[in-house]
């Protein structure tokens, strides 16, 4: 099984609708990172979560970390065509502290926003 599972794999929503993407780890999360990617392009950093119960927002995107469940969710409110892309979660599930840990990535969620 995958160390980091994302769901759903793909999502089509109408413009203006809300949506949620989930990322679940099979190991303890020491940090959870959300990135956005256009197909074949680079990773755009969205947010980083470290502490259980932590919640961060940027514009219409909110991310939460539920440490007990080893899960994070990304919620987009009132989706727009500009939100379309691939959302990736990356987890620091190493035992080292203070930096220097690789990120393990999920398989991504492809989001399409229809007009």
């Amino acid at each position: 099984s995958q160390e980091l599972e994302q769901s759903p794999q793909s999502l089509i929503v109408q413009e203006g609708k809300n949506l949620t993407i989930n990322c679940t780890s099979s190991k303890t999360l020491y940090g959870l990172y959300w990135y956005k990617q256009k197909y074949g392009e680079g990773l755009i950093f969205l947010m980083m979560l470290q502490k259980g119960g932590e919640e961060k927002s940027h514009e219409k995107i909110t991310a939460k970390l539920d440490e007990k469940k080893q899960q994070s969710s990304l919620h987009i409110t009132a989706s727009q065509p500009s939100h379309a892309g691939i959302y990736l979660c990356g987890a620091d599930i190493g035992r080292l502290t203070g930096g220097g840990n690789k990120l393990t990535f999920g398989t991504g969620t492809q989001l399409k926003v229809e007009l």
Binding site: Y30, G31, Y33, Y35, G40, E41, G42, L43, F45, M48, Q50, L88, G90, D92, G98, G99, G100, N101, K102, L103, T104, F105, G106, T107, G108
Partner: protein
């Protein structure tokens, strides 16, 4: 805002040739990484580098791969004899003393 930069943006090479992918990490960062992403697949860790040595590497990072920080600013990934399956997007990342990771825009490597 400081950024990780990578050159070239696209590299085309013949199978069996050596390639060097270049990265300039953010200047005060201490940890450096290479990841790759085969088109349509997930981002995979290759190697991490700290204090002028490899701190961790994945199974993908075999003897054909090497990394170097030749001059205190650049961080390079060398593939000695490229294979068709090395075709991928290669991302460099750097981290300050702390868990944040900043990714470069990537180099698309195409092996013919």
């Amino acid at each position: 805002e400081p950024e990780v930069t990578q050159t070239p943006s696209h590299q085309v090479t013949q199978m069996g040739q050596e390639v060097i992918l270049r990265c300039v990490p953010i200047s005060n960062h201490l940890y450096f990484y290479w990841y790759r992403q085969i088109l349509g697949q997930k981002v995979e860790f290759l190697v991490s580098f700290y204090n002028n040595e490899i701190s961790e590497k994945s199974e993908i990072f075999d003897d054909q791969f090497s990394v170097e920080r030749p001059d205190g600013s650049n961080f390079t990934l060398k593939i000695r004899s490229t294979k068709l399956e090395d075709s991928a997007m290669y991302f460099c990342a750097s981290t300050p003393f702390g868990p944040s990771q900043y990714f470069g825009p990537g180099t698309r490597l195409t092996v013919l």
